[in-house]
């Protein structure tokens, strides 16, 4: 039996942990999942601490939540923060089968545990008599030294493996600016610099394409990455509308007849924006 | 302990590795080096085989020059080798044929694929290394005196054979030659693997039975001694099952009707040299093993099944010959002729008379030599015209008389003309069968008429008649090709006239086998002294 404090702590942490786990499972965006998992891990760390595994609890916070989960976040960022799973299941019956299996498995495990009738808990006070860290260290460097060494080798291998996997061999020598310019002239494609993105009085961001004299957008003015992601804020429609309004009000103020008023180019689909993933679904 | 036998087996094995490791390249010089090395290795093996035959004493123990190295001690498996008369004869056959096959296939492995590709770079090395590997494994199979060792090599030789069949076809195939070839290779492999699987079960079963009675060994001499002395008694049902397990594998390999259909495909699609390796060397392991293992290990079951096997082999004789008559493809014809001949060999073994079994052993050797001659000349013919169809030839004897002449000799040997080697063996088989099973012997004799039909019809259609347009200008045999055919023809003649070197070697082993199955030759009804009392 444990103290009431621990019981309270447990029930709070358990709710957080399960909530985090479910959140991780159900959140569409990977970033949210990662954050939910971090929450679960932190609550688990506290559980370790509560159970007398001080060292593990700290390691859980420092290594797991601090390092590993950050690695996850890095990769999520690398792959694309906004990328999210589609909700539509492509494999027929996979979701139902998975849920069924999960429920069945859970029931089995819990039933098994209940059946086991575990009531006697020795507690770690004896084992932790010299301190938890000292106790672990004794074991690691005596009884489990071989496994420890092998684990070291494993870690090094994993590190090298990760480097090998992500390393990209440079096939050609890197071209200098000069060479790039020469190549551009030689190919006669876009010899002058690219147009700058639209910087107006009200907008000055790289995700807004510049407008051509007739009010349509110059696609080249936005960087390719944003274009591919479909993260372009096309302001041309709005601009044209405002210009038309301006002309209108100017004409009103000047009292020009409607026939003499200058025509602004009609709003039109100027840019085929790439639909974002959400839109596609 | 002499190391002669292991040396005989090791030289081609090492040679195979060396040949495979020779520097690759597409240049003619590189290729020539490879071929020369491989040929030299095979000739060296021939020399060693000759040494084995020379040091073999016909009157001595059943297994001579024995060697034994412990292999898997917990199962009583030794890498044990030993030469008996039958094995020595077949070792000689193998050692003689392999250099000739290499010489015949001298250009078969020249690159067909685009120059410079990996395939073309390693092709020559691969071809010759595979041949040497097959040779090494076949030699071990003939010399192994341990059931397990035999089994391993019996199965292992499938691998190089598979690549030889599937990777190197003759250049006479149609547009879907590659597909046909891989079909043939896979068929070969599956058939033989199936047989091998059944045999593996039987090998294990044999060990279990033997171990139960305190004979935990795979050593053949030990097992046969225990069986014939009654120390090891396998109960009849188990014995029959084990016999069938062994026999099935050998019957697939031999091949016996109705398990033969892989042979025409394999022989038809591969190069002539490979076809010779299949029919003259590899298949002989099957019939050899029937004689050594089936009879020695399961004497009672052998006797029980002998009539059924004789009937199957009789069907094979007649059936193979009839189907050969109906063939349109030269190589397939030779294959079916071989099936007919294998019928004779199996018949001789299971007639269980000294004539039958000596005849069967001689038959293995003689069939190897004569079919090699026939098939290789057919291969030379096919390589000249680029077609395997009989209908594409005609009047070849006019333009290439030596080729036609040797082809005729091959055909005559196949139809067992007296004076040529196959006659001796075929007649012995027939006589041996007749003395015990007269009706089967008489029906089998029809085979000699059918053999004349297919052999001479093939000769008539390809070699005689007006010269076909496609054949005009066909060159006669070149020096290399003559060097291949001449020894074979000479051996065919020599062994036809004076087979005694072989019979002296084989007879004691056959007598020993017969004593293992407790059979003696049927006595003549009214015996007379041989030679009318003439002094020897």
């Amino acid at each position: 039996m444990t103290s009431t404090g621990e019981a309270v702590q447990f029930w709070v942490l358990a709710v957080i942990a399960v909530g985090g786990a479910l959140g991780m499972l159900l959140m569409r965006k990977a970033v949210h999942s990662a954050l939910c998992l971090a929450a679960t891990m932190l609550s688990l760390a506290v559980c370790y601490l509560a159970q007398g595994a001080v060292f593990l609890g700290v390691v859980q916070i420092v290594v797991y939540t601090g390092a590993i989960m950050m690695l996850f976040l890095f990769v999520v960022m690398l792959v694309g923060v906004s990328s999210a799973d589609s909700l539509k299941e492509q494999l027929k019956g996979q979701r139902i089968a998975a849920v069924l299996c999960g429920v069945g498995f859970g029931v089995l495990l819990i039933a098994g545990l209940a059946n086991a009738r575990l009531s006697h808990f020795t507690g770690l006070s004896e084992a932790n008599a010299e301190g938890n860290v000292q106790g672990l260290a004794k074991l690691i460097f005596t009884k489990y030294v071989w496994a420890f060494e092998v684990t070291g080798a494993l870690l090094i291998t994993a590190a090298i493996g990760a480097m090998v996997l992500t390393h990209r061999e440079r096939v050609h020598e890197r071209l200098t600016q000069r060479q790039l310019a020469a190549q551009r002239v030689k190919d006669n494609i876009q010899v002058p610099p690219m147009p700058a993105p639209g910087v107006y009085a009200r907008h000055n961001a790289v995700d807004i394409p510049a407008l051509l004299p007739d009010g349509t957008v110059a696609e080249d003015s936005v960087m390719g990455t944003l274009r591919e992601r479909g993260q372009i804020r096309d302001v041309s429609q709005e601009m044209l509308r405002r210009m038309a309004e301006l002309e209108e009000s100017t004409a009103d103020w000047l009292g020009r007849p409607s026939s003499a008023r200058p025509q602004v180019a009609a709003p039109r689909q100027a840019l085929e924006t790439v639909p974002t993933k959400e839109e596609a679904e | 302990m002499s190391y002669l036998l292991s040396a005989t087996c090791a030289v081609p094995a090492v040679g195979a590795v060396v040949t495979a490791a020779l520097p690759a390249g597409t240049g003619e010089a590189r290729r020539r080096t490879t071929k020369a090395v491989a040929l030299a290795v095979s000739v060296a093996t021939l020399g060693l085989a000759a040494a084995v035959a020379a040091s073999f004493e016909p009157g001595g123990a059943r297994y001579q020059l024995t060697e034994s190295y412990s292999w898997i001690r917990s199962f009583g498996i030794d890498f044990a080798l030993g030469a008996d008369g039958i094995g020595t004869a077949l070792v000689l056959l193998t050692a003689v044929l392999v250099p000739l096959v290499m010489l015949a296939g001298w250009h078969d492995a020249d690159p067909a694929a685009a120059e410079g590709s990996f395939e073309s770079k390693r092709r020559t090395q691969g071809f010759f290394a595979l041949i040497l590997a097959v040779e090494a494994m076949v030699l071990v199979s003939f010399l192994a005196t341990d059931v397990f060792v035999f089994y391993v090599f019996f199965e292992a030789m499938l691998i190089p054979m598979y690549f030889l069949i599937g990777g190197f076809g003759d250049r006479a195939g149609g547009p879907d030659a590659a597909r046909q070839r891989s079909y043939a290779a896979v068929k070969f492999l599956l058939y033989n693997l199936l047989g091998g699987l059944v045999m593996l079960a039987a090998v294990i079963g044999l060990y279990v039975v033997a171990a139960d009675q305190g004979q935990a060994t795979f050593g053949l001499p030990a097992l046969t001694d225990a069986i014939s002395s009654g120390k090891l008694v396998i109960d009849p049902t188990a014995q029959r099952a084990l016999f069938l397990g062994f026999f099935f594998a050998f019957a697939v390999k031999a091949p016996m009707w109705p398990l033969h259909t892989w042979l025409p495909n394999a022989m038809g699609e591969s190069t002539a040299g490979t076809a010779v390796l299949i029919t003259a060397v590899v298949d002989k392991v099957g019939t050899f093993a029937m004689l050594r293992f089936c009879l020695g290990l399961f004497p009672d079951a052998s006797k029980t099944f002998a009539p059924a096997i004789l009937v199957l082999s009789l069907i094979g004789i007649v059936y193979g010959a009839l189907v050969a008559i109906g063939q349109k493809d030269i190589k397939r014809l030779v294959a079916y002729a071989s099936i007919s001949h294998f019928g004779f060999i199996i018949m001789g073994i299971f007639a269980m008379t000294s004539q039958g079994q000596s005849g069967a052993t001689l038959y293995m050797v003689n069939h190897g030599i004569s079919t090699a001659a026939w098939m290789l000349v057919a291969g030379f013919l096919i390589s000249r015209r680029g077609s395997r169809l009989i209908a594409d030839y005609g009047g070849v004897q006019k333009v290439a008389p030596v080729l036609a002449g040797t082809f005729l000799i091959g055909g005559l040997a196949t139809l067992s003309l007296p004076g040529l080697a196959p006659f001796v063996s075929e007649f012995l088989v027939l006589v041996g069968t007749f003395t015990r099973y007269p009706v089967i012997g008489v029906i089998a004799t029809f085979g000699i008429v059918l053999a004349a039909l297919y052999a001479l019809m093939l000769y008539q259609r390809t070699m005689t008649g007006p010269v076909k347009e496609s054949v005009t200008g066909m060159p006669d045999l070149k020096a290399r090709e003559l060097a291949v055919v001449a020894p074979l023809v000479a051996l065919t003649l020599l062994l036809g006239v004076y087979p005694q070197p072989l019979t002296r070697m084989v007879n004691p082993a056959v007598d020993d086998t017969l004593s293992q199955v407790h059979r003696t030759d049927p006595a003549p009804v009214h015996p007379v002294a041989a030679n009318g009392g003439e002094q020897k």
Partner: protein, 99 residues
């Protein structure tokens, strides 16, 4: 409270993780689910350690963490390199093993 509740919690988390592996398609999330399963088993190990009154369970949990770290490093590297070539982190897009 009976400490066995920790075990129930571990079982529940493990099950959620396993279901996640089956349901989610994003390879990164899938990995997180695996981590969750490992954590669940760690919790169980720590609880067992307490139950038996010795530290071996914690040692095992410690090793699990180390191996998990190694696994994550390699796994994420694989995901990154797959993403580079296929521009997708969905495990359903890597199905070349289908004939």
């Amino acid at each position: 409270m009976n400490p066995v509740n920790y075990l129930y919690l571990a079982a529940l988390l493990f099950t959620i993780g396993a279901s996640g592996v089956l349901i989610r398609r994003n390879a990164i999330v899938l990995f997180m689910c695996v981590e969750l399963m490992l954590n669940a088993s760690n919790l169980a190990l720590v609880t067992f350690s307490r139950m038996h009154g010795n530290l071996d369970g914690q040692i095992l949990a410690f090793f699990t963490m180390v191996v998990a770290a190694a696994e994550v490093v390699v796994g994420l590297a694989i995901i990154v390199s797959i993403f580079r070539t296929r521009h997708s982190a969905s495990v359903d897009d890597s199905n070349l093993m289908k004939l």
